[in-house]
Subunit: 152 residues, 2 copies
């Protein structure tokens, strides 16, 4: 496996100085009360939740893993934040720029970013983008709709 | 979220009687020795591993989650097996038929199957198929290449 070299960019230092929102209660083990279940779902049937005019999303929730299909219009900004949940972001369409770990990384269709727990990150859609996010454990704040940082 | 009704089919009972391979050592916590790392990867750069003439795959390994891109030619069969790892299978292209939980389910492009830990399943590609598999924890047998059941 070849890992891309990530170059540091000047622009970053600015965002690195901004306050990062360390999200709380993103991993309440609601899953403990749910029995693991076989589910067969089509994304076309999964409820589409509009977070703001530029951001829609859909969730498929397993026992210890959540899959989210995140639809962003060009210019959509996800503010700098962090969470205990591990995140893998696979860009299916478009391009999503991340500010993370002192770097700027534009993740394009066919590319993946693995984000360790508690690593602050900000993102902006450079084009209309379809992003598949995997979280472990499932994002309790997304399930419980306590994710005010996205509802602006 | 709307869950599709899964109908039981006659054909299943046959496969339900077949011996299921309960895979061992699929969740050795090798991840404990790995520091969580930010990784930026393109699927086009990730090593393609040929398992058998009908099955290739690629792995992106996080701390507690693994993402696998599984490329199957029509007719590829994954024998009946089970593992402690939770699995989410998102079909990106093609169609993959599962025998699972006493049912036959054809999962097509744009559809997802969530498979609880230890639930035996068999699969066959009805067309050339691209399947994105998410596992928690990462499949140690896939990482350590001790997955003889796929190398036939």
């Amino acid at each position: 496996m070849k890992t891309k070299r990530i170059s540091k960019k000047q622009g970053n230092r600015k965002s690195a100085g901004k306050k990062s929102l360390a999200l709380k209660q993103t991993a309440i083990r609601t899953s403990n009360s749910r029995k693991p279940a076989l589910q067969y779902l089509s994304w076309s049937d999964v409820q589409l939740e509009t977070m703001n005019p530029l951001l829609d999303r859909q969730l498929i929730i397993g026992q210890e893993v959540m899959m989210a299909r995140v639809l962003m219009k060009k210019g959509c900004v996800v503010p700098l934040h962090s969470h205990v949940n591990e995140q893998l972001s696979y860009i299916l369409e478009g391009a999503l720029k991340f500010w993370i770990d002192g770097k700027e990384i534009v993740v394009r269709a066919g590319e993946v970013l693995t984000i360790p727990p508690n690593m602050p990150h900000k993102a902006e859609a450079m084009e209309d983008t379809v992003d598949l996010d995997i979280f472990h454990p499932p994002r309790a704040d997304w399930m419980n709709k306590t994710d005010a940082y996205l509802r602006k």
